[in-house]
Symmetry: C2
Subunit: 337 residues, 2 copies
DNA sequence: TGAAGTATCGAAAACGTTTTCCACAGTTTT
DNA sequence: AAAACTGTGGAAAACGTTTTCGATACTTCA
């Protein structure tokens, strides 16, 4: 590998001069600067990020923490999409992305925080399902720049998909289509679910619609089988709902299956509404009506906030940045009026 | 940050001794070693990966190169699953994972190879769709340890899903179910598709079954809409096939839609076969019969081969490592005999 | 008892940068 | 003509490690 020393030797200058020429310092003559840059390019020079990081305490490397209980890992559509968007805009700003999951060094397991320090990461984005573990808390309470997704910590900036508005839009839509008997199979018990659930109830209340307890079922996100079972229970109800909200698009397929196995047609016999707006939802038959979460925007904002936090620490903290989704009208909801 | 120097001062030893105590060298007394380790832990010491990498030329960081033409990025189920598995086993071996996509440094775009050198990556796994770009070639021809997925380069180790055997298994299955009129909507023109297509033809020939040209349709991977159109064309054929192979599970949903929109039932009226075995395929109704690619094994093998290449450069190269999948029998194929 | 061996530790160089401070020349101001 | 800038460049320290080589003290052996 060709280093600054090699260039310095070839140009008969010092390494300090080379550094200045290559990094756009002003106290250097134009002639020398041009010569050095030319030689550097010719010799195929590239800086060494380790040396640079060692000296400057800046790695231009961002961590992403992404661990969920079910270990769906990168196969989780929603987070994968956010991550991808995060990656794209972070890279455009000159940052690399490194995973900050569990790791070993010297036979000892490092905590997330330790891992970040070890790698000298400039900041980290947390896109977890479970934010309550002590390791996550250690990271959040540290001095490292942190941005969280869909979870709010005091004093930390969070990018959150507006689940309240999203659910309201969906309920409003279902009601506008004439539905009054609306059920909700919800996902795991976390802040996202609580937001959606309370918005579900509040919006129905605004429409003066009461929802029986039997219309609220607990399933789990991305769990088609469990959701299918809950759907069957709803379909077996004496006073069956006309429209059922699913935990998410993926498990909505379980809802489809439950209906189709009973010979019911969607949306003629039963209407179904999803959440997420993943590509698959529009490949289903009939196309799923769902709320498209703006994963691209979420990832982009996360990267922007994180880099701004890094490069400009005095920025006033807007703690919570809400990102709107939008309703994706498929053909899975029947018009009743 | 507490460094070795701090520990050395506190223990009245030199940094060299601290380094030895912490890294398990033999030329150090047990008493001192224990004391130093205790103090290190107490002071919350962690090594600095940049300094270490600078000195040793080993970063314990692996690159993953993952760029496709459609920019499906991390939302590509198949690659995301492989990546996740790669990540898990690489991490268990003490390596971190960094993305090696395009990147800027000093306002100049780096090539993949330059990027790897810049970050001092120990090796890189390439899981691309398109392996023919000059940048990928530059990387492959370099001296960096490289493992490729589903593509074979001379002198490089490749992990490839056995598409020949996979397709053979599927065709054998369809034939065993009594199907003779079998169509194939295939994906983009690349080596994977060519393997599957030739295996499709060869296996049918072994069964003395001829397939009309009109039964072979070109679509694109993960493209539900195009696949749906091709499926419609097949269904409109005067001599309609009884069983249709899809490019992949995701676009198979397009096949389902085409059939269901015509009021056809799966598998009673038309049988459908997918490829990949992604979770969604088993959430469909009816469950899709497909070939489950062993993404977990592929990712694991890739990580194992890459780390072994790094840590033990003299390993004899097994250039091509085939990974078997297995048939996932759903309910989307009707028994005709 | 002297020589040889062994165990333990440290000094110092090195990895490739960045950055501060100083030096020197030439130029402008008094 | 002295003083004060200005522009350009270099010396050297520093970042936190690893690693070689030598030094010292202590054992062991003949």
């Amino acid at each position: 590998m060709v280093s600054m020393k090699d260039i310095a030797k070839r140009c008969n200058v010092s390494v300090a001069t080379v550094s200045k020429a290559l990094n756009g310092y002003s106290d250097i003559g134009k002639a020398k600067r041009d010569e050095i840059q030319a030689v550097a390019k010719e010799m195929g020079y590239f800086p060494n990020s380790s040396a640079r990081a060692l000296k400057t305490n800046r790695s231009y490397d961002l961590g992403i923490l992404f661990a969920d209980n079910l270990h769906s890992g990168l196969t989780h559509d929603y987070f994968a999409a956010i991550l991808d968007s995060f990656k794209v805009t972070a890279e455009s700003k000159g940052y690399d992305i490194t995973f900050t999951s569990m790791n070993m060094v010297a036979n000892r397991r490092m905590s997330y925080y330790e891992h970040c320090r070890y790698r000298g990461l400039d900041g980290v984005v947390i896109a977890n399902i479970d934010f309550t573990t002590s390791e996550v808390l250690e990271l959040v309470r540290s001095s490292l720049p942190v941005v969280t997704i869909d979870f709010v910590f005091d004093g930390r900036v969070a990018i959150v998909s507006d689940n309240v508005k999203g659910m309201k839009d969906l309920v409003d839509y279902a009601v506008s289509m004439g539905h009054r008997k609306i059920a909700y199979i919800h996902g795991d018990n976390n802040s996202v679910t609580r937001d959606r659930l309370s918005s579900f109830h509040r919006t129905l209340a605004e429409h003066n619609i009461t929802v029986p307890d039997s219309y609220i079922k607990a399933s789990r996100y991305r769990d088609g089988e469990t959701t299918e079972k809950r759907m069957e229970e709803l379909l077996d109800l004496p006073d069956r709902p006309t429209c059922v909200f699913m935990p998410d698009d993926f498990s909505a397929v379980g809802g489809y299956s439950a209906a189709q196995e009973r010979g019911l047609h969607i949306p003629e016999d039963i209407s179904i509404i999803g959440y997420d707006g993943i590509p698959m939802s529009q490949a289903l038959f009939p196309k799923l009506t769902t709320l498209k979460q703006d994963t691209k925007q979420i990832g982009k904002k996360a990267a922007e906030e994180l880099t701004s936090l890094i490069e400009n620490p005095k920025t006033t903290l807007i703690e919570k940045i809400l990102v709107d989704g939008y309703l994706l009208e498929g053909a899975s909801v029947r018009r009743l009026n």
